[in-house]
């Protein structure tokens, strides 16, 4: 199989052509440094992404609290993780760094709050 990958490690944006099959990568061209090789290899073998989203929150100034995964997770898991995140409802106060979901979908990553939201008295 062949795949073209735009390297995003630096602003140069090399177009890397990768030839691969189920046993791994056969050949690669178009990169200009080792970081490009590493990036393209990871993109073919196990692409990962940080996921950022929000969860519902009660008794806070806003109705949602922003969250992120504590580390990048496998790209195929994005939809599963999102389904988990959207079922969660938290209560204020929440502090940045608080764990909202532990080991989300068995990815090894936690969902953590990225904002501090105080408890607000509801009028």
């Amino acid at each position: 199989m062949k795949k073209d990958i735009i390297c995003i490690v630096c602003p140069k944006g090399c177009m890397i052509h990768v030839d691969y099959d189920e046993n791994g990568i056969n050949s690669m061209e178009g990169y200009s440094c080792k970081r490009g090789i590493d990036y393209a290899t990871a993109e073919i073998l196990s692409p990962t992404r940080m996921i950022t989203s929000s969860v519902k929150i009660d008794n806070a100034k806003y109705t949602v609290c922003p969250v992120k995964t504590s580390c990048p997770v496998n790209k195929d898991k994005i939809q599963d993780v999102m389904k988990n995140i959207c079922c969660v409802q938290v209560q204020a106060p929440v502090k940045q760094g608080d764990v909202i979901i532990k080991d989300v979908c068995g990815t090894g990553a936690d969902i953590i709050a990225t904002q501090t939201l105080e408890e607000e008295k509801q009028l």
């Binding site: 735009i6 995003i8 602003p11 140069k12 944006g13 992404r49 940080m50 996921i51 950022t52 989203s53 929000s54 519902k56 100034k61 806003y62 109705t63 949602v64 922003p66 992120k68 790209k75 994005i78 999102m82 940045q96 990225t114 904002q115 501090t116």
Partner: protein, 437 residues
């Protein structure tokens, strides 16, 4: 007419050494740096109910790689500053709108706690940020209907208020906020039908094209724009069309796309109404103030930084500019800043291939100061040399691998070089920054 004349009751008058207008990344960085330098009586005037500015709604990551050497989300980046400000005696006035300002650094503001206030400052740092270009600025013909949002408005709805703007969306413009919102809306279950860009290259960072569009198979249509908006009450669709090299829509290429939401990500405008009220000189191309190498405007003691001065690509650069403005304000308040009016100054002008430069003028000094001149290109270049010329002599050169309009670049110039090349400040010629042909 003095504005306070029409207000009855007690008039609150406050005096500060340094007043910073705007509590976003530029304002917070300026305040903390000023505090660290020992300026007493600093105030931040912020119109929202908390510090952080637009970072609070930018919940995606990718902030802070330069300043903190790690990848943070917007709210996390903002907290690094707002938490520190809590531990200082910097006066933070929230829900505070500055409604008028004078050249003598008297500001008029309102908030629910004090009502109308007159605020006097020795030095002012402008850090009001920017706002988005709207449909009105684009003049897209068609129905005047609900469902048309700037990308940033939709971002605030989704990320802070938990409201989804629609179910089927089209995005006009491939600026970074539009790309980020394409991914964000997709994750929240909104069908994003495509991103349409009038230019023949994307406006946003490559990283965002890959991670926000390619990852989710969202098509990017280059050299394509929206020529009509349809609907009664609510958007029901848009007509797109290819454009020629003069960006004129090509007849016969029109396509109808059914959607209920249209997001606009078509550029940002520095928010300079107050700057203009103060009578500060403006630079047409950036839409921000005309500044020298100390980020001082043409009005003594008024400094500008961040997106109100020129629109940046990265918040890290906004932070650094805020810190720099604070250092200049400190020198001004201490009266250690050299009397500029008596100094010779030269203009900095964009030459071949460049759209703008910043600063736009430099006061000549015979010292070892290094002056960084920022610039943006008009077109895309690969492997070019950018040079600084004065009197047809090259005083600085920089090799740039990739020069594109959406990525700001800079070149460093030695103050002493400028001084020597102008015959000790006598033979004043413009400093030209250009792409070598």
């Amino acid at each position: 007419m003095p504005i306070h004349a029409c207000w009855g009751g007690t008039r609150v008058v406050k005096e500060f050494n340094l007043v910073i207008i705007g509590g976003g990344p530029a304002g917070m960085a300026a305040a903390l740096e000023a505090y660290a330098l020992g300026i007493k009586d600093i105030a931040i005037l912020e119109r929202d109910d908390s510090l952080g500015g637009i970072l609070k709604q930018c919940i995606h990551n990718g902030f802070g790689l330069h300043v903190f050497k790690e990848e943070l989300t917007g709210p996390e980046y903002a907290l690094r500053f707002s938490e520190k400000i809590k531990d200082t005696d910097i006066t933070v006035l929230l829900n505070t709108m500055v409604i008028n300002a004078e050249k003598n650094k008297t500001l008029y503001a309102v908030n629910p706690d004090f009502g109308f206030m007159t605020i006097k400052a020795k030095a002012v740092i402008l850090a009001m940020g920017c706002r988005e270009r709207s449909r009105g600025a684009l003049r897209i013909p068609g129905a005047n209907v609900a469902g048309i949002f700037t990308a940033g408005t939709a971002q605030r709805f989704v990320n802070m208020e938990g409201i989804l703007p629609g179910t089927k969306a089209v995005i006009l413009g491939s600026g970074d906020i539009g790309l980020i919102m394409a991914r964000r809306m997709t994750l929240e279950g909104i069908k994003v039908l495509g991103v349409y860009e009038i230019m023949d290259y994307p406006g946003g960072l490559t990283r965002n094209i890959v991670q926000c569009l390619d990852d989710f198979n969202i098509p990017l249509h280059l050299s394509t724009t929206i020529v009509k908006i349809h609907g009664i009450g609510r958007v029901t669709g848009v007509t797109t069309a290819k454009v020629d090299k003069n960006m004129i829509p090509i007849k016969g290429t029109e396509e109808y796309v059914e959607c209920d939401t249209l997001l606009l990500s078509v550029g940002l405008i520095p928010e300079n109404e107050l700057t203009e009220q103060m009578g500060v000189g403006m630079y047409q191309v950036t839409g921000g103030a005309y500044v020298d190498q100390d980020l001082e405007t043409d009005t003594e003691g008024i400094f500008a930084c961040g997106n109100v001065l020129h629109v940046h690509d990265l918040v890290d650069y906004v932070t650094m500019e805020g810190q720099k403005a604070a250092r200049s304000a400190k020198a001004y308040i201490d009266e250690s800043m050299e009397q500029k009016k008596t100094k010779p100054e030269i203009k900095v002008v964009p030459g071949n291939g460049l759209r703008y430069v910043l600063p736009q003028h430099i006061y000549l000094k015979d010292n070892d100061e290094k002056i960084r001149v920022f610039f943006r290109s008009k077109a895309r270049y690969k492997d070019v040399l950018v040079r600084a010329l004065i009197n047809n002599e090259v005083i600085a050169k920089k090799k740039v691998i990739r020069l594109i309009p959406s990525e700001m670049e800079s070149v460093e110039i030695k103050a002493s070089d400028l001084y020597i090349k102008t015959d000790n400040g006598i033979n004043l010629k413009d400093l030209v920054i250009e792409v070598e042909q």
